[in-house]
């Protein structure tokens, strides 16, 4: 009993982002779980398009922030400008005041600018010049960062990374999908031609629905067992925090909803596990860090279902 609207949304996105069903589904799950998404990948694999499409089919407004090294918090949050006519300062909201925000190359900005965005993500409100302004609802940030230690980057500290619910990679499309992409119509035009499938109110409802997906005691045992394993096994430097467990459960719930179920299965947890742990869990053996899927698989296979 999958929800038809969610199926339609997935179909719309997959028509434009070719051969990326899984990342697309994960990003949608992240959105349904009210979290923010971090995409680590090379430029040009469709990160921006994904953000665009998501905003479009969900009927959300969209802003893109290109992060640079001389960026200031005000560039993100907005500034008050003196209005000569009224004789008072007037707040001009920054790009963060939109429902879907694409923060491109977030690790290019200085920690100061980064933390302005990350705090806004966490608080879902902006405090500037002594006044607190709520951000729109729903509020979804897709941040991208470059994979390697490139020149002039400020890698996000681990504590900040935790604010992203999921971290995914898009990767190159497979040859067939790439061929279709090359042969097909212009992606921009296709995006523009999309019509919203649901309203933002409905999206909020769906988020509530995802929160209510049942997690049985057996499943919670499983999540606990996974966390306990990461905390004690030699393979990882530091275990999953309780917040990470909550994140895992939240994404697994949304994933179950996307699959049309009202209860979470271990499969849901396992499916979203790589995205949840890849930026939270560091293997002790540095060489293993590269392959997120393999790391998650090792964790899954080490923990029996309770």
């Amino acid at each position: 009993m999958r929800l038809p609207e969610l199926e339609a949304i997935q179909a719309d996105i997959n028509r434009i982002i070719l051969g990326k069903e899984r990342p697309v589904c994960l990003s949608l799950a992240c959105l349904l779980a009210c979290g923010h998404l971090l995409i680590e990948d090379l430029p040009g694999v469709g990160k921006t398009t994904l953000a665009h499409v998501l905003a479009r089919v969900l009927g959300l407004n969209f802003q893109r922030i290109q992060f640079t090294s001389d960026m200031l918090p005000a560039d993100i949050l907005g500034v008050s400008i003196f209005d000569r006519d009224s004789g008072a300062f007037h707040f001009h909201p920054g790009p963060v005041f939109s429902q879907v925000v694409l923060a491109d190359e977030i690790n290019r900005a200085t920690p100061k600018a980064q933390s302005a965005l990350l705090e806004a993500m966490e608080e879902r409100q902006v405090t500037a010049e002594g006044k607190t302004r709520a951000l729109p609802e729903p509020f979804f940030v897709i941040a991208t960062q470059n994979p390697t230690h490139q020149i002039g980057t400020f890698p996000l500290p681990e504590s900040q990374l935790d604010r992203f619910l999921l971290k995914i990679e898009l990767g190159y499309p497979d040859p067939a999908a790439e061929r279709e992409l090359l042969a097909g119509a212009d992606r921009r035009q296709m995006v523009a031609s999309l019509t919203p499938r649901i309203t933002s109110q409905r999206l909020v409802q769906l988020q509530e629905l995802a929160r209510q997906v049942h997690a049985s005691p057996a499943l919670i045992d499983y999540v606990q067992a996974l966390a306990a394993h990461t905390r004690t096994a030699a393979r990882w430097q530091a275990g999953l925090s309780p917040r990470a467990c909550l994140a895992l459960l939240a994404v697994a719930r949304a994933w179950a909803l996307l699959d049309g179920r009202h209860h979470v299965l271990p499969e849901d947890v396992q499916a979203v596990l790589p995205g949840v742990i890849s930026h939270r869990l560091r293997p002790t053996d540095d060489t293993a860090r590269t392959d997120v899927e393999a790391v998650a698989a090792a964790l899954i296979e080490a923990v029996p279902l309770p």
Binding site: I151, G152, H229, A233, A234
Partner: protein
Amino acid sequence: MLASLRHRLHEAFVRWALHVRPPEPAPIVLTQRRVYVLPTPAGLAYAMALGVILLGAMNYNLSLGHALVFLLAGLGIVAILHTFRNLVLVAIRPGRCEPVFAGSLAQFDVVLENRRPDARTCLRLFMADETPIEVDIGPHASTVATLDAPAHKRGWLPMPRLTIETTWPLGLVRAWSYAVPDLDCLIYPKPAAKAPPLPWSGESARGASRDGRGADDFSGLRNHQVADPPRHVAWKAVARQQDGPLLTKLFEGAAAQQLWLDWDALPDAIDTEQRLSILARWILDADAAGLAWGLRLPAVRLVPDNGPAQVSAGLRALALHDHGAH
């Protein structure tokens, strides 16, 4: 002679008792087959005492004396069962193991899991001749036990054989088992007590800054501090921000000197281990001074950086020098 024979017999028994060639895959479950039970010296004394009481009871035809002996004998049997139960089906998983310097104690964490709804009490764990530690595991819980082993040589130190035993509840019977969890500790070379000062002015130091970029590359902004030169203030940024604090532009290569810790920089007379010791000392000193440093070994090269990750990478490279890839 006798002692060595005893030792050899014991080792042979342990090899047989382990069943699996170590290290064993996790989790190691102490099944019935690998838990052994024998009386303790106290248990032998108890048995002897029972024998004497039985003789007394027979000699004096004491029915209650017989009853007493038989009750206590039953108690002994029950103690065997309780002690066995206290240990059997404990699951052992390797835990963490932080790298240490040679000469100190390697600390192996093992996770003991109790999958039963009642607690396990007074389990003793020890490796070889080390002091045992005693742990309890609550119902459906797990406990981390940290075991020490002396780290003598740099490189990987596999966890020695672990003996886990218990004499709870009466101390008359000892149940024990062996396990070799798959856990290795990385042993860094021991930092030299006396080392030459940090090699500041090597041929590689000046000029070649990080990543080979020019010294005036803009790299970011930070809050202005009084000591910053005025020409580095980001006036444009200040103008854009209302009442914002002054910001200072940062430039790559501002820290002009680069520190290379070089294997070849040390005199030839120094042997490998001593060389590694000195390099370890240098890494620690450089880190304490907050410097960025690079490391050159015959097979490894680390670009200059600072921070804990760099330190652990550097020390790891030293530890595994000539040990092949691991």
